[in-house]
Amino acid sequence: MANYLAQFQTIKSSSDRIVIAVEDVSDLWLNVKDSFKQRLPVKKACLNNKARNPVLVENLPAEFIQTTDSRLRSRFPQEQYLFWFREPYATVVLVTCEDLDEFKTILKPRLKLIVQNDEREWFIVFVSKAHPSNDQATKMAKKVYARLEADFNTKKRERCCKFDLHGPDDEFWDDFDSKMVDCIRNTLDRRVQFYEEENRRLSEQRFTPIWNFCNFFILKESLAFMFEVTNLHEDSLREYDELELCYSESVNLPGKPREFGGLDTGDDQAALLNPGFKALTQIVQDDVFREFEFRQYIFACQAKLLFKLSRPVEVAARGYAFVVSFSKTLALHENALPFCFREVWVITACLGLIKSTSTQYDGGVVAIDSEKEFYRLQGDLYSLCRAKFMRLAYLIGYGVEIEKSPVNSASLSMLSWPKPATWPSIPPDSSSEVMAKEKTILQAKAREKLFDIQRKPLPLEPSSLLREANRRRAFLSVGNLAELYDSVDGSGFGPHSKVSPNKSSSNLMTRTMSGPATSETSLPVDRPMRLSEIHVAAEHALKQTISDPDFMTSLSSPEEFENRYMELTKGAADNYHRSWWKRHGVVLDGEIAAIYFKHGNYDLAAKSYEKVCALYSAEGWEELLADVLPDLAECQKILNDEAGYLASCVKLLSIESSLFSSKERQAFQSEVVRLAHSEMSHPVPLDVSSLITFAGNPAPLLELCDGDPGTLSVAVWSGFPDDMTLESLSLRLSAFSSADEGLKAIRSTDARVLVPGRNIITFDIPPQKPGSYVLGALTGQIGKLSFRSHGFSQDSPVDTDEFMSFEKPTRPVLKVRKPRALVDITPAVSSALLMNELQWIGLIVKPIDYSLKGGILHIDAGAELKIEESQMIEIESYRSDGDHSGNLDASKALSRSTDTGRVEKVPIGNGKIELPDWASDVTTLVWFPVRAIDDTIAKGTSPASPQKHSIVDGMRMIALKLEFGAFHNQIFERTIAVHFTNPFHVSTRVVDKCNDGTLLLQVILHSEVKATLHVKDVLLDLQAGFEHLGKGDGRPTSSLFPLVIAPSSKAGILFVIRLSGTKDLDELEQADSMLNIKYGISGDRATGAHSPVPVKPDDSEELLFKISLKLKRPVLDPCLAVGFLPFSTDCLRVGQLVNMKWRVERLKDLEEASLSDDEILYQVDANPQNWMVAGRKSGHISFSETQGSRIEIAVTCVPLVSGYVHPPQLGLPDVGDANISCNPAGPHLVCVLPPTLSTSYCIPA
């Protein structure tokens, strides 16, 4: 059956559409041909796929062929089955008839004969020639057609349609199409079934000896081809997939060795997208195809179908997998293939795939995922191609042109050398080439990197090429030498030399190799080749292998190589970028940059290198960064990009120190220093966050009170390998809560040189606002270069991975507390002190967890208070009762107890006291003497003249100001009030009035102080109008002195006096009696009043207190009586007018009375806040001189406020009090009601 292969191929290539046979019974074809052909290709057809599911196919290509055509006639039945796919899918029977009889007798039997062949799907087109105007003919045609239908239509299927030659309507064509499609579908179904059965039959024989892959292939591909022709591409593809699978299984079966193929001219160019590259007959061997060609063929068929299905992404995906797996297959057969055949094939395959898929790919309509995948595959293809291309270039000596970067090393150093049966030998007459190569090898030297970085270049070879090549040659020589010569003489390339195309040249080559020393290049077999010779030999061998001249050109010179290399690298990089494989893309960008760099295109190189460096440093791949960063630095240096160069140097320094030698690191540092001290054209701040890091001390954070300065010590790690001299260094603190607040640069005073590693640097902190502060940034200057660092390190040396340390929450290093009371000063006295005497005032100065060291207390006594500066101030430690019971810790209690009872006297000057050091942490009591001055003479009270005693009178203010803190920056100010009082309050009352005019005057002494008073003597100087009885020395009647008055108690003293009958009493009444009390005091200064501070040593302790007493003569001579008349209304209201009435009555006749005037002045006194007086407030009244005459005074008033208020009073200023009797007395208080509610405000809405 394999014989049919050739035939099969030709049939397949000739029939690219389905055939519809036309059985032209009535010679009508010529008439209808054109209109029929216009219906093709079939616009829409519903066909069944292999799974018997309906599939809508569009534009089904088809062709009408008459059954009389030679193409359909000359076939043998056997062929017909085998190549059934090319047989007609439908038969159109064209008939016409205008006569029923003719139809019955001639046409019908003939038609029956035609359609009896069951194999065929047929339908009848009745062509009516009748002209529409010719009714007769039309009717006849209708009759005949009806008959035809009756004869040939079945219930299941209508097989007839009528075609009107003179005006075919659309209905016919629809009918025609559907019938044709029905036929095609039926035929297709039948044939698919047939092929499937055949396939199954053959598959069952798979493992029997009679099985023949060729037969299977023909059947399988026939089916696939049939699907393809009927546009059922999916099914076709599936068939090819199955075919491929089957082939793989059969080819891997152990058995007799088969030819692999790939030895023809042009085989090195991959044909995986060109199914017609080689005729199948050429590649068949026995009953199986050669693997090399056949696999490519299958793939090409699949790719063609996938392109038809618009799935270029899948082509790329399958293609890449195919290339990789086929490359492995090639490796298995490598020793039979030309030198580097595998590499060349892969390159051409990749390029072919890239080209075809990218032209077929029209992006946009696909999902983002498949778009990414497509570009990723393109990138993979490019980079695979690139690796193989570099391998070839390396073999022929362009290795020096290839950057020894990690990416190139990764793709080349793990890629094994080609393994030809024998390594190619050096061709004759190639001495000049060898010389040239030798020269390039000698000239090539590793590019000197900046900073003298010495690195062992990464390998680009899996093992030394020199060794490998010689080993592969020596391997021959180790074997049978004679055999070797035989082999060499015979073919030059081992077992398959018989198909080698360039026999003559290889003979030439080998002959030279074997010949005995014909020239300077002649080699004895055992002499190892030099590297240059290997290169030349490889180049010549490659020329044999590569059939594409264009490809060979790209290996012809380093420049050409570089162009192609660039093209491939760019292609890979661009596609990887588009596929979001940024790492692949960026790394390849770095390779492009290396070429730019080589050509002096530093600008572009720097840009690409920057991307690479950013990628590596972002993810912390320092080893890789260390490889590429020096290149970037070099570009920047050449481009004079100072900022970038500096940043690169800093970055180099901050890379893990083990990656560079100390000498290199010193070179980096000296570059930084050199630039920093040079005149930079554009000085920019340098970020050294990765190099200089800092952290607060691990000790507890520094806590400061509001307003206090402090010193903060910060650990700064320098990553410089040597000492670094700084011009300045300052630190920024930022508030913990908000970033914008409190950013203050604090300059360090002592930092000048940073040693490598840890430095402790102290910063003086001026007063800060309250809050927590974290370290913000470290700034400073190296030479003219300012730098800043944001790098925090967490109590760890700098050489750990600071990449992560930015993450860590920063700890506050400084806490400035909210303003709080740091000290409290309270007066120590609880009760009043003695007025006009020198008294101690105690101040309790209580530090609240804050040292008062060096504190200065300013005491500013207010008015009427004087500090006695001649006296020393006493300071003593203070223990309050609360402290004993409090839960103080032991140490405090201890310190307190040791200081107990300590008293120190310090001077006071200008109101300032310096607190002693011992007093800085303990509560102290400061005693200082003051004298409150009150020039007024105290007044006693009596029932007649109750005098209100205001507590404010005895108040004296002391303004205190305490300056403390390290820099006297803390100020505590307080004004305290101290109460001073007289020792006694004196009240008098007349206890009894004797008949003889003697008055018993009781003087009551109220003690006003919380101290015991000793009254030693009392002397009463009476005012005029009074006089003492008895001895008349003004002393009390009984002598009880010394009289002791306990605190807050009273004592009474009795005086016997009488009125002295003098005239002009009114004048005399102005004078007061004076009570002189001599007394002593014994009190505690901590409680209140105490004995005065002796100013002079000889001051007696006896004190004198003077108080004036106003004695009032009784009203002995009443002339006038004033009475208040009741109100006319029950109640007073605010705003209501009210009449106030007083009645004045003369009690004595004018002559007897002491009053002379008959006109009396009156005056109404009213509190203007409570009352409004309408009318005259004062005036004169005149009334009769006779006793008993009376007069009423009325004044209209308006109460202004509600409540109990004093009513207005009527006074008679000209008449002495002694002459006025008030009877009845006016009311003390009257009740005033609030105003009546105004309804006008309460109108309901």
């Binding site: 891997n252 990789v324 490359s327 492995k328 490796a331 298995l332 020793n335 995922d369 990414k372 695979l384 990690p406 990416v407 090393s409 990764a410 793709s411 150093s413 793990m414 890629l415 094994s416 049966a421 024998t422 062992k456 990464l458 390998p459 899996p462 093992s463 030394s464 060794r467 080993r471 391997f475 021959l476 180790v478 074997g479 049978n480 055999e483 035989d486 082999s487 015979g490 073919s491 081992g494 077992p495 398959h496 030399s497 018989k498 979001w580 494989w581 790492r583 692949h584 790394v587 993810e619 912390g620 791949w621 080893e623 890789l624 490889d627 750990t800 991975d801 990449f803 992560m804 993450e807």
Partner: protein, 194 residues
Amino acid sequence: MPSPSSPPRAHGPTTSREQPPSIRRAPPSRCSRVNCRPADSAAPDQLPSGNMIVCVAVVGHQNNPLYLQSFTEADDALKLHHVVHCSLDVIDERVNNPKRSAPTLNETFLGLLYPTENYKVYGYLTNTKVKFLMVTTDLDVKDADARNFFRKFHAAYVDAVSNPFHVPGKKIASRSFGARVSTIVKSFGSGTVG
């Protein structure tokens, strides 16, 4: 001419290569490779002595390298850095497109990441987004073996980072971890045989 063609064929590499791939195992093929060059056994080649794993790496959740150990004798670890680094592209893609890796969903083992002609990269992703990678030149690693290897590797990693002196997110400097990883790597080679 059949006779000249026979010598190369009779030799090790050819015969071993002609075996079907399914029965080719790494150690035998390596042995045969050694056999084929008796005169030149000193060649360090790309292969280490003990096994086929050339590199293992731990990469943190921010794609930062935490540990990378190469097992090649040549001083060319940098290229393996590159390989591991580039493989992160694949991991990123798989993690970001979970539907494409439906079978590996909810599984730590990511399988073969990066097949090339010469080496393979396998990946493993922990719940904390720490990645383990393994580069091998053995082209016929079974998934089960790789899975097993990663499980041991993961256990070693967990022990290493559980050390209270280890700072999370920093490189693993523990020497005992290195030793343990080396043991695991060595046992990987023998595990495939036995």
